[in-house]
C-alpha cells in the first residue's frame, strides 16, 4: 500500500535534512569506534587483555542490573496499578511525588543513601562497605528506575478498554481478571520495562562510581581515563554496546509497540477500582513508596547539610551558583534539538513508515553514556573537528545523541493516537506539507512535545555519564562540578551539593510545568 501524499519533495527534504546530521554527527562516531577497535594496530593486544576476570565482571554487572530490572518492574506493576487503576484521591500528587526519583540525577540518591548507611551502620568496615555497595547499588538503581516502570506500565494500564476488564469481571473473580486478562494485555509493556531498565542500569555510571562498586562501566571509565588504555576501553565498550543492542533489537517489536510514556488517554474510559481493599492497599503502598524513595532521602540530605550549621550549605551554593546558568542553557538547547529530531523521527516512523532514523536513535539510546562519550572523544578529538570538541557543542551532541529517542517515543505515541484522517482532510484541501505539519500535526501532539521537552531537559540537566567524558576543560556545569568536588569533599558538603541539585531540579520542573500547563490542557484534545 502506498499513501500518496507522503511522497512529496518537501517531505523527503525535511527527512534528509534531519537524517544527515544524525548520521554524520551522532551515528558515525559510534561506527568509528567499531572500526578503530577491530582494525586498529593494538587489536591483538586488546583481545589478549580480555580475560576471565573481565567476563566475570560483565556477568556481575548483568546480574546486578537484572535484579534491578526485576525489582523495578515488579514495583512498576504494583505501584502502576495502585496509581492508575485504583480510585484514590490526590492521584496527581502521588504521581508527581512517585516520579521525583526519575527526574533527579542518580548520584543524588546515592549520596542520600550513603548518608543513611553512615548514620545507621559503620560504613568504614570493609566487608560491610562491599556488601553495602552491592545492596546500595540495587537499592539506589531500583529506586531510580521504578518510576520509569510505573510510567510504562501505568500508561499501558490506562490504555486498556474498560469493557475488557468489565466483561472479565462478569465472568470471574478480580484475581482471574488481573492475572488472566490485565497482565497478559500489558505484557509488552512489562517486557519493555524490564529490558529498558536492564539497559539503563548496566549503562549507568555515577552510582557505582560513587559507591565504589566495580562494574563494567566503571571499569571502562578506569581503563580510558586513568590508565589511558583506549583500545581496551573501546573493546570493552563494544562488548557492552553489543549486549545492549542485542537486548534492544530482540525486543524491538515489543518496545516499539508498547505504549510507554503516552500523554493522556484521549478520552478512553479507564476502569478504576473503588473496593475498600484495593483503595486502602493503594494508599498504604503509595505512601510507603513516597516516604521511602523521596521523603527519607531528602530528609537525610537536609539533616546532613545542616547538622553543623548553614556554612556547608552556603559553601555549596557558592560553588554551584556559577554552574546553574550554563547547565540550564545547555539543557534547554539540547532538549530543543532533541525534541525537533524526535518529532521528525516519530512523524516519519509513524506516518510515513520510514523507521531508519527512529532505529538509529534507539541504538544510540541503548549505548551506555560513558561509552557514547568515548565514541565522541575518539571521533571529535582531532584538528579538523576540534572546534566542536573544545566547545559546548560536544556536550550538546552528547545530550542529543543520548536522549532524542525519548522524544521520538513520546511524540510517536501521540502521533499514533492521531487519526490519519486529520492530516488527510488537509491533503484534500491542497494544503502543503509544511503547513500541515505546522497547523495540524504539531498542535495535535503539542502536549507530547512539551512533555518530551521537560523530560529531555531533566535528563540533559542531570546527565553525568556522557558529560564527564566529553566536557571541555574549564566547563562549569552542575553535575560535573558536584561529581568532581564530592570525591574529596566532606559528607556535609557532598550532601549540601546533592540537596541543591535536587532543589534546583524540582524548581525547574515546577517552573516548566507551570509554564506549559495551560498549553498542555488546551491542546490535550479528544478526537
Amino acid at each position: 500500500m502506498i499513501i500518496s501524499h507522503n511522497k512529496s519533495i518537501s517531505s523527503n527534504l525535511l527527512y534528509t535534512i534531519v537524517l544527515l546530521p544524525v548520521l554524520l554527527l551522532l551515528v558515525l562516531p559510534v561506527l568509528n569506534i567499531v572500526v578503530l577497535t577491530f582494525f586498529g594496530t593494538n587489536f591483538p593486544e586488546s583481545i589478549a587483555s580480555i580475560n576471565r576476570d573481565l567476563f566475570l565482571l560483565l556477568l556481575k554487572s548483568l546480574a546486578v542490573s537484572g535484579i534491578v530490572a526485576l525489582i523495578s518492574t515488579f514495583i512498576g506493576i504494583v505501584l502502576g496499578f495502585s496509581l492508575y487503576k485504583s480510585d484514590i484521591k490526590y492521584r496527581n500528587v502521588f504521581r508527581l511525588l512517585i516520579l521525583i526519583p526519575l527526574f533527579i540525577s542518580p548520584y543524588i540518591l546515592a549520596v542520600a543513601w550513603k548518608d543513611i548507611s553512615v548514620l545507621i551502620f559503620d560504613y568504614n568496615t570493609s566487608i560491610f562497605e562491599k556488601t553495602y555497595s552491592f545492596f546500595g547499588m540495587i537499592l539506589v538503581h531500583s529506586t531510580i528506575y521504578s518510576p520509569l516502570s510505573i510510567l510504562i506500565i501505568g500508561s499501558a494500564l490506562s490504555n486498556i478498554s474498560k469493557q475488557m476488564e468489565e466483561s472479565a469481571l462478569l465472568m470471574g473473580s478480580f484475581k482471574d481478571m488481573f492475572f488472566k486478562i490485565l497482565l497478559p494485555l500489558i505484557r509488552p509493556s512489562i517486557i519493555t520495562s524490564f529490558v529498558l531498565i536492564l539497559i539503563f542500569s548496566i549503562s549507568e555510571f555515577s552510582v557505582p562510581a560513587f559507591l565504589g562498586f566495580r562494574v563494567f562501566t566503571t571499569e571502562i571509565f578506569t581503563q580510558f581515563s586513568a590508565f589511558y588504555n583506549h583500545n581496551l576501553a573501546m573493546l570493552q565498550s563494544l562488548l557492552l554496546i553489543f549486549i545492549c543492542v542485542i537486548l534492544l533489537v530482540s525486543e524491538r517489536k515489543r518496545i516499539s509497540d508498547s505504549v510507554f510514556l503516552s500523554i493522556g488517554t484521549r478520552g478512553r474510559e479507564v476502569k478504576l477500582y473503588s473496593s475498600k481493599k484495593i483503595v486502602v492497599f493503594s494508599y498504604i503502598i503509595l505512601s510507603f513508596a513516597v516516604v521511602f524513595t523521596v521523603f527519607i532521602p531528602v530528609s537525610i540530605l537536609v539533616y546532613q547539610s545542616f547538622k553543623t550549621g548553614t556554612s556547608k550549605f552556603m559553601e555549596a551554593i557558592f560553588l554551584l551558583l556559577p554552574t546553574i546558568g550554563n547547565s540550564v542553557l545547555l539543557a534547554v538547547i539540547g532538549s530543543i534539538i532533541s525534541v525537533f529530531i524526535g518529532f521528525v523521527a516519530a512523524y516519519y516512523s509513524e506516518i510515513l513508515n520510514k523507521k531508519l532514523m527512529n532505529m538509529m536513535l534507539l541504538v544510540l539510546f541503548a549505548i551506555p553514556s560513558t561509552i557514547f562519550g568515548i565514541a565522541l572523544i575518539k571521533f571529535y578529538n582531532n584538528s579538523l573537528l576540534n572546534f566542536i570538541y573544545s566547545s559546548f557543542g560536544i556536550l550538546i551532541i552528547g545530550y542529543v545523541g543520548k536522549y532524542s529517542f525519548i522524544s521520538a517515543k513520546l511524540i510517536g505515541n501521540s502521533i499514533k493516537q492521531m487519526p490519519k484522517s486529520m492530516e488527510e482532510a488537509a491533503v484534500i484541501q491542497w494544503i502543503g506539507f509544511f503547513k500541515r505539519i505546522q497547523k495540524i500535526v504539531i498542535p495535535l501532539v503539542l502536549p507530547a512535545i512539551f512533555a518530551s521537552f521537560i523530560i529531555n531537559f531533566l535528563f540533559c540537566f542531570g546527565d553525568l555519564g556522557t558529560s564527564i567524558m566529553v566536557y571541555p576543560p574549564g566547563t562549569e556545569i552542575m553535575p560535573i562540578k558536584v561529581f568532581t568536588i564530592m570525591a574529596n569533599a566532606t559528607e556535609s558538603l557532598t550532601s549540601s551539593m546533592a540537596l541543591i541539585v535536587f532543589l534546583v531540579t524540582i524548581l525547574l520542573v515546577s517552573l516548566l510545568f507551570f509554564i506549559f500547563k495551560k498549553i498542555i490542557a488546551k491542546y490535550n484534545v479528544n478526537y
Partner: protein, 238 residues
C-alpha cells in the same frame, strides 16, 4: 455522462487483496451509493478516487483526466476538485468551526474568507457556532460542519465515507435531506459509502453493491431491490 472512471483497479493491503480488477463509472451530478459490508473494499474505492492511496493496478480518471495509474498519482488529491467527508469527520479539534472551514480557503483576503465561511454556515443554520470548537457541538452539527468545510472549496465531487453511521434516525434523515438539497444547489456529484441499504434506497440515484473487492450489482434502487444476485438478495434482506 461519467465524471469518475475506475478501470481494472486492483489494490492490496499487505497480502490481502481488497479490490479485484474493479471497473466502475460514476455519473455526473448523481448520488451514487457504494453499498457493502465491512471489509468489502468500499472505503478503499473512495480513498483511491481521492488520491489518498495509489492503486496497485489499473487507472483512475476524474473529469476525463488521468488521475492515477498503477503505483503513481498523476493529479494530486488537492487538485482533483473534490471534497471528502471522513467516517470520523476529521474536524480538527484544536480549531474553531470558523477556523476549520477557513483553513483551506486560499487567495482570499480576510473579509472574503469571513464572508465565505459565514455564507456556507448560514446554509446549515450554524452561524451561531462560529467560535465553538468541534467538541462543543452535537453529533449532527459536527456532520454539518464537516460538509460545510468540504463545500467551502467548491468541489465538483463530494466523497462521503459513512459519515452518518453514529447518528440517530431523525438526525440522519435531516442530514440526508441536506445532502440532496446541496447536491442540487452546487451541481455536485456525490459518492457515498455505506452498509445501510435503507439509507441508500432513500436518496440514491445509483447504487453499486460490492463484496470482497468485486462489484456484485449496480443500478437504480428499484433494480437493486429486484436483483437476482444471491449476495445482493442476502445483503438487502437484512
Amino acid at each position: 455522462m461519467s465524471i469518475i472512471k475506475l478501470i481494472n483497479i486492483s489494490h492490496w493491503y499487505s497480502e490481502n487483496r481488497v479490490l479485484d480488477n474493479l471497473n466502475l463509472e460514476i455519473e455526473k451530478n448523481k448520488i451514487t451509493y457504494i453499498l457493502g459490508s465491512s471489509g468489502s473494499g468500499k472505503t478503499t474505492i473512495l480513498r483511491l478516487i481521492a488520491g489518498l492511496e495509489v492503486p496497485d493496478k489499473g487507472e483512475i480518471y476524474i473529469q476525463n483526466l488521468k488521475a492515477s495509474v498503477a503505483n503513481k498519482i498523476i493529479v494530486a488529491p488537492g487538485k482533483r476538485q473534490l471534497g471528502y467527508i471522513f467516517q470520523d469527520l476529521a474536524l480538527w479539534p484544536h480549531l474553531t468551526v470558523y477556523e476549520n472551514i477557513a483553513f483551506g480557503l486560499k487567495n482570499m483576503n480576510k473579509s472574503e474568507v469571513e464572508g465565505e465561511v459565514k455564507g456556507i454556515l448560514s446554509l446549515f443554520g450554524l452561524n451561531g457556532s462560529l467560535q465553538k470548537f468541534p467538541h462543543q457541538l452535537s453529533g449532527g452539527q459536527q456532520q454539518m460542519v464537516a460538509i460545510a468545510r468540504a463545500l467551502a472549496l467548491k468541489p465538483k465531487i463530494l466523497l462521503m465515507d459513512e459519515p452518518l453511521a453514529s447518528l440517530d434516525v431523525k438526525s440522519k434523515r435531516k442530514i440526508l435531506d441536506y445532502i440532496v438539497s446541496i447536491k442540487e444547489k452546487y451541481n455536485l456529484t456525490i459518492v457515498y459509502v455505506t452498509h445501510d441499504h435503507l439509507e441508500a434506497f432513500a436518496i440514491a440515484d445509483n447504487i453499486v453493491v460490492i463484496n470482497e473487492g468485486k462489484i456484485q450489482e449496480s443500478g437504480t434502487a428499484v433494480e437493486i431491490k429486484n436483483s437476482t444476485n444471491d449476495f445482493v438478495k442476502y445483503f438487502i434482506e437484512w
